[in-house]
Point group: C2
Chain length 302, copies 2
């Protein structure tokens, strides 16, 4: 009792055509090949499925039940095959694209139109979340692709990380604070530096860049967006680091001043990450290219 899907397909073909020769043709094999498999199947069943009559091939009473159940097997096998086909190659559903909050508002205006123009077959569902949540979503299968600014930790299903470009940091102060440029981060009083909430990678990066003690929390500030921080800065409540990509939007604020840092390597690297085992690797690589392309074509303000 060890039939194969192939045997079932042959048997159903015979049942449908009522003719071994035509069933073989339908199955794109020679008639003896099909005959042999049917014979084998019948011997495995211990009884005949078909009555070979001169007037044509008919189902035995056993065969009627057998074929009905065999069709059920084939139906579910076809459902599986359809699922696989729909999944492989080009995605047939919106790609779930997660982006960290310190990137999304600044990059999306560039990359979303570019993606729609250059990869019109792809659709997207964008979600904004912190790095950890994004990586979880990736591993759980809730997300297909994430844009982050750190190297994901090992452990768990492996990820492919595709670097996009570097994003240097600059210092934002209120307009009325005189500063010589380029600024040395070490010259800034630690308690003047405004940071995002815990959990934002940009907070950790800013802490590292300024050589601060991460454990200390001023506690009085709570900001989940750079725009909010910029408002604090504009009101003279302190200074902050900003990633360069944020400048086009945030530097419009006339009440703040932007200052380059004396260490030009202070910054972050933006990257795409996806499950190494994704079916959409090719699409993701194309997306990375498109995103890199947006850095050149529209000459950024900053």
């Amino acid at each position: 009792m060890n039939f194969s899907l192939r045997q079932l397909r042959y048997a159903v073909a015979v049942a449908q055509t009522g003719h071994f020769g035509r069933a073989a043709e339908l199955s794109a094999v020679s008639q003896p090949a099909l005959s042999q498999q049917i014979l084998l199947l019948e011997s495995q069943c211990g009884t005949a499925i078909f009555d070979r009559l001169k007037s044509g091939v008919q189902l035995t009473p056993f065969g009627r039940d057998f074929i009905a159940r065999a069709q059920e097997v084939l139906r579910s096998a076809e459902a599986l095959e359809g699922f696989v086909l729909s999944y492989s190659g080009k995605p047939n559903r919106p790609l779930r694209f997660g982006i960290i909050p310190t990137v999304a508002p600044y990059l999306l205006p560039d990359i979303f139109p570019a993606l729609q123009e250059q990869l019109p077959d792809l659709r997207f569902t964008i979600s904004e979340n912190r790095t950890e949540a994004l990586l979880d979503g990736l591993l759980e299968g809730h997300l297909d692709l994430v844009l982050i600014a750190t190297d994901p930790p090992a452990g768990g299903p492996r990820l492919t990380v595709e670097p996009l470009f570097d994003d240097p940091f600059v210092l934002a102060t209120s307009q009325d604070v005189p500063t010589e440029e380029p600024v040395a981060l070490s010259s800034i009083p630690p308690d003047r530096i405004l940071l995002l909430d815990e959990g934002h990678c940009f907070r950790d990066q800013a802490i590292a860049a300024c050589g601060l003690d991460g454990g200390r929390g001023s506690g009085t500030f709570s900001a989940t967006s750079l725009s909010t921080i910029v408002e604090f800065v504009a009101n003279g409540q302190g200074v902050t680091l900003l990633p360069q990509i944020a400048l086009r939007k945030e530097a419009n604020n006339p009440r703040i001043a932007i200052h380059p840092l004396n260490d030009p390597h202070t910054g972050r690297q933006l990257r795409l990450a996806w499950r190494e085992t994704t079916p959409f690797r090719t699409s993701f690589e194309a997306i990375a290219d498109v995103i890199r392309g947006t850095r050149k074509e529209p000459p950024t303000l900053n």
Copy 2:
């Protein structure tokens, strides 16, 4: 896209054990054999089903859906296999046994207890009908086995016919009709011979034995059982042929007389018939043996 049940079974085994080696053991194959099939399956899918981590094997998001559907395929395949197993070998349901009316009341008292004793695993549903209806039922699948007294016609699914024993005919007359024995059938006035309704094979056989013109119907008689005919005979309305197996019952009637025929070969042969392609051939052959056995063991009267 041409996966096999075997590949699906391997994949489900890996999903269940989370371990290629144990999955191979469970599937009773070597680990490389299973690995190869999984790899092949994944390449057919165009994407990975499993993430091979050091901490164990996990399903990819795609793999979760894939395995769920694969299990559905395997479930229906197992249902088919279960059906086949339940069908093959010993029948697991009552065998539908059809018997012609001129045999059933006379043979059943012998063979039913014998079958129950000698083949206790088998159960029966007995139905009484004329030959043509029985053969139809056999071909339609409503009956498994029939006991008839003629050679079934060719055409339609082929039947296996297993002869049981000969059943000679005798003449029944009313008690007050003096007759010299053995009787020559030709000596009987045709219009004195009482016959069963159309469609009973025994009617045709009696007509043939007496050399009558089958077309002619006396019209005034309508009898569907030999017992009724015997009552007619007892009342002096004519004579009839009786099969020997009927005598034990019918010859108890004190108002009739039984006379052997001068041609000892006049009679019928009882036979079992079943579909050549039945799964129960072995059981049917055993049944034939049991029925033949009943002719010897209980020494029949006359």
